[in-house]
């Protein structure tokens, strides 16, 4: 490919693309012609007309310029007013700028271009977060435009220490990505490592968030989320203050927070918006819910299939009465209903809202009532699975919720095979796995391991705000400068 900056070269390159405009503009009587090079639909047409095109056509000085160089110098010195004006001599960079929505004026003889950043494309307005609703607290959320998202963060942390590094990923997509951290709080080795990983990503296109996540996650086989995502700028700013590193990717309405630990995923912004005792109670309920959703179905299987002596007498008798006439084993009942539950969730996500409501009613009646009436499942199992299901959705992080749901199946199968013995084996494996996870030098279940009084204040309980004057991360060295 010809690497010269020339209108003919670009015309040839984009000969089959109707959206790329390469138009000649005659500027003065000396027949100097520059070429406008832009992507239709990505530029602010109005701004281009008033700030650039008007100057080109009506500025008296330009009409007197005899060479392209003179003209370029004048334009760069403010002849055509716009904040971001730049002379570009690199063919690849020019292509990148134009394809990302900037406008270039190509000067063929000089083999150079002047680039104006007057991008404008359709975007959502900042709206309420759909996944992380809070009763009290801010209602703004990230959108698909990276720069808008970084602005939302900058609005909350007005410090010169906040660093927003812009990186690019994807050989074809050339997706912009912002690596954000507070330079005197974040850990330099973590920042360097994340930067290194991003720079080494060898992929054509970043089409879904999972593409980024899989590269950044250190233990790829674990089903527990090791990277936290959030829609909420306030949550990002809080984590930045704690010394964590944030990634904002253009086109993805989330911000990623690293390193991520399990207790973080159990926290909700509401915890801090309420009185600390209420916040602590909510957290305890979340941890209890995690235990219920993980172990209740497995416990039921183990208790009704192997160790019925674990149940109190009256409970054993009522469970026994509830299970009579049901032809399936407890394990089949529970696993079958858990799978039905997952099918209902999946169907509910995919269907349009109007149909989804009808399906929820149908699913609720079929699974909840008719299955019991038809003696396909016992009422106790419906209660157990519903309770486990609802408890699973209390998790503030949906990735964690999904991980727990899958683990719930594994534990239920182990309980079906080995009763409480199987359940305990599963529990040991689970705890071992969680303890073995390491996330950018920090244990996944930190600060439950390596306990320090200062760090434990914001885990199971939410201490009063006066105890949070300093961020909790212990590994902050305050040397996270740009390399």
């Amino acid at each position: 490919m010809d690497g010269r900056i020339n209108s003919e070269v670009f015309k040839k390159l984009f000969s089959k693309s109707g959206d790329v405009l390469i138009r000649p503009i005659k500027i003065n009587q000396n027949n100097i012609i520059v070429h406008l090079f832009c992507v239709d639909g990505l530029i602010n047409q109005e701004l281009f007309d008033t700030a650039v095109f008007k100057s080109l056509k009506f500025d008296p000085y330009l009409s007197q310029c005899k060479t392209e160089r003179q003209m370029m110098d004048y334009l760069l010195e403010g002849g055509a007013y716009h904040v971001f004006t730049k002379e570009e001599t690199d063919y690849n960079l020019l292509l990148k700028y134009v394809l990302s929505g900037m406008v270039a004026l190509i000067f063929d003889k000089e083999e150079k271009a002047i680039v104006y950043d007057i991008r404008k494309f359709e975007k959502r307005s900042v709206s309420e977060p759909t996944e992380e609703n809070v009763m009290k607290g801010s209602k703004d959320s990230f959108i698909e435009v990276m720069r808008m998202n970084t602005a939302l963060i900058r609005r909350r942390i007005r410090s010169e220490k906040l660093v927003v590094e812009t990186l690019s990923v994807g050989k074809l997509s050339k997706t912009d990505m912002a690596l954000i951290y507070i330079s005197d709080i974040a850990d330099s080795s973590t920042v360097n490592k994340i930067r290194q990983i991003i720079n080494s990503i060898d992929i054509d296109n970043i089409s879904t968030p999972a593409f980024i996540e899989e590269f950044l996650v250190e233990n790829k086989h674990s089903i527990f989320p090791q990277i936290m995502y959030t829609q909420r700028p306030d949550r990002v700013s809080a984590n930045l203050s704690d010394g964590r590193v944030v990634l904002v990717v253009d086109g993805i309405p989330f911000a990623y927070i690293l390193p991520c630990q399990l207790p973080m995923l159990m926290q909700s912004p509401d915890d801090y918006a309420n009185h600390f005792l209420i916040g602590s109670s909510l957290r305890i309920i979340r941890y209890l819910s995690m235990i219920i959703t993980l172990f209740l179905p497995a416990f039921y299987i183990a208790a009704t299939t192997y160790q019925s002596q674990m149940l109190p007498v009256q409970l054993a008798l009522s469970t026994q009465a509830a299970k009579q006439n049901v032809p399936f084993s407890s394990a089949s009942e529970v696993l079958g209903l858990l799978i039905s539950f997952e099918i209902l969730i999946e169907a509910g996500l995919r269907l349009p809202k109007a149909v989804g409501t009808a399906m929820s009613i149908l699913g609720g009646i079929v699974v909840g009532q008719s299955a019991v009436a038809a003696n396909l499942v016992s009422p106790a199992v419906v209660v157990i699975v519903s309770l486990a299901g609802i408890s699973g959705f209390i998790m503030p992080n949906q990735d964690l919720s999904s991980g727990i749901r899958l683990t719930r199946f594994i534990l239920a199968i182990l309980a079906a095979v080995g009763g409480f013995f199987g359940l305990v084996v599963g529990l040991i494996v689970l705890i071992t796995h969680l303890c073995s996870l390491d996330n950018y030098g920090t244990a996944y279940i930190w600060p439950f391991v390596d306990v320090e009084e200062r760090n434990i204040r914001d885990t199971l309980f939410r201490f009063p705000i006066k105890y949070f004057k300093k961020g909790p991360l212990k590994q902050n060295d305050g040397k996270a400068e740009i390399e």
């Binding site: 299939t305 192997y306 469970t319 026994q320 009465a321 299970k323 009422p379 095979v417 009763g419 084996v425």
Partner: protein, 369 residues
């Protein structure tokens, strides 16, 4: 690494699979849970009478258990009788959820160690299950008569347990507790006995198990005195001259032993508080003097009550108050020589009483009745 993971997972899976065959995998609805188990000794063999819920009448939606059914097993030993009971039953039988064990009069005379040994070796049995003796009757007839009278035996026993818990702070007739008390050879084991009165089960007092065999039935007052000395009283009514009714709301009992000139003395120090519950006299009882008089009378009442327990122990030479254990704790060195002929020495123990009480919270509806 992958090979190791696959190997570990395989071992785990097949290990669990293998274990599941030895872990008595049984669906809950395939088991007959025995709620109540009666143990009798009749004509040279043990008879076990089990009550369990059948599926008849059970309601799946409400979780209502079915009606009670009876099954019996006979054998030379209680364990053999249990095996015979299991063989007769259509479903698997489990004593894992048995809440009550009823020992018939004759079986208790024959020795409670034989009755309870097979239970102590069953890993599934609930150690908090309650044990009762059936006074002057065998458990089989007791159960059958109750069912014929329309009683639901395990529910009525639950009611007995709750009534027991209203009066005392803990049930000492749990399986684990009885098994522990059986280890102490010097003291008598006390197990509550049941009688039927007007289609209801009543706890009248303790059966005295001496040398692991049923020896006697104590009356209600002596049994209450034992509860005072065991310091497990939660509430207790006192009636003074049919005029004033009082209820004990707090009680604390401490025993102190001394040995002087080879004479064992036990001081029973009891503190309690009462509330006035009933006044059937026009006499002014809430004045300071009347209250003092009332306090003295309730002290006398309690002393008389306690004397019934101590006198029984002295007269019958049975350590129903666990004085031996007290001496072991407080006079450890002397106990080693005393325990050799403790059965004789228990009758020589001298009891002193120190009672402190007060009447509180008497003026709920005003200061005079």
């Amino acid at each position: 690494m992958k090979k190791i993971v696959i190997l570990v997972m395989s071992v785990l899976f097949w290990g669990l699979w293998g274990c599941s065959h030895d872990m008595n995998r049984r669906e809950i609805d395939e088991i007959n849970f025995i709620h109540v188990l009666g143990i009798d000794y009749s004509m040279g063999e043990y008879v076990l009478t089990a009550i369990y819920s059948s599926n008849q009448g059970a309601d799946a939606e409400s979780g209502q258990a079915g009606k009670e059914e009876i099954s019996q097993g006979r054998g030379q030993t209680p364990y053999e009788a249990l095996q015979s009971l299991k063989l007769k039953n259509k479903k698997s039988v489990s004593i894992a959820n048995t809440g009550y064990f009823l020992i018939g009069d004759k079986a208790a005379y024959n020795g409670i160690d034989v009755c309870l040994d097979f239970l102590s070796r069953d890993e599934t049995v609930k150690m908090e299950s309650l044990i009762f003796i059936i006074k002057d009757d065998n458990a089989e007839d007791f159960i059958k008569d109750s069912i014929e009278n329309g009683q639901t035996v395990h529910e009525d026993l639950e009611a007995v347990k709750q009534k027991q818990e209203e009066l005392i702070t803990r049930n000492d007739n749990t399986l684990v507790n009885i098994l522990n008390e059986m280890e102490v050879k010097t003291a008598s084991v006390l197990i509550p006995y049941l009688i039927t009165e007007e289609n209801a089960f009543l706890l009248k007092g303790y059966a005295v198990i001496d040398q692991l065999k049923l020896a006697d039935y104590l009356d209600m007052e002596t049994s209450s005195a034992i509860n005072f000395i065991k310091d497990i009283i939660r509430a207790f009514p006192i009636y003074i001259e049919n005029k004033v009714g009082l209820s004990i709301s707090y009680s604390k009992c401490k025993l102190k032993s001394t040995i002087k000139n080879n004479q064992i003395k036990v001081l029973i120090h009891l503190e309690f508080e009462t509330m006035v519950k009933e006044v059937n006299t026009n006499q002014m009882i809430f004045s300071g003097e009347s209250l003092r008089e009332l306090t003295d009378k309730q002290n006398e009442y309690i002393i008389e009550l306690l004397k019934k327990a101590t006198n029984y122990s002295i007269q019958h030479g049975r350590d129903i108050l666990q004085i031996g254990r007290l001496l072991e704790n407080q006079q450890n060195k002397r106990w080693k020589s005393l325990k050799e002929n403790w059965n004789e020495r228990i009758s020589e123990v001298q009891y002193d009483f120190e009672i402190k009480s007060k009447i509180t919270k008497s003026f709920i509806m005003g200061n005079e009745s």
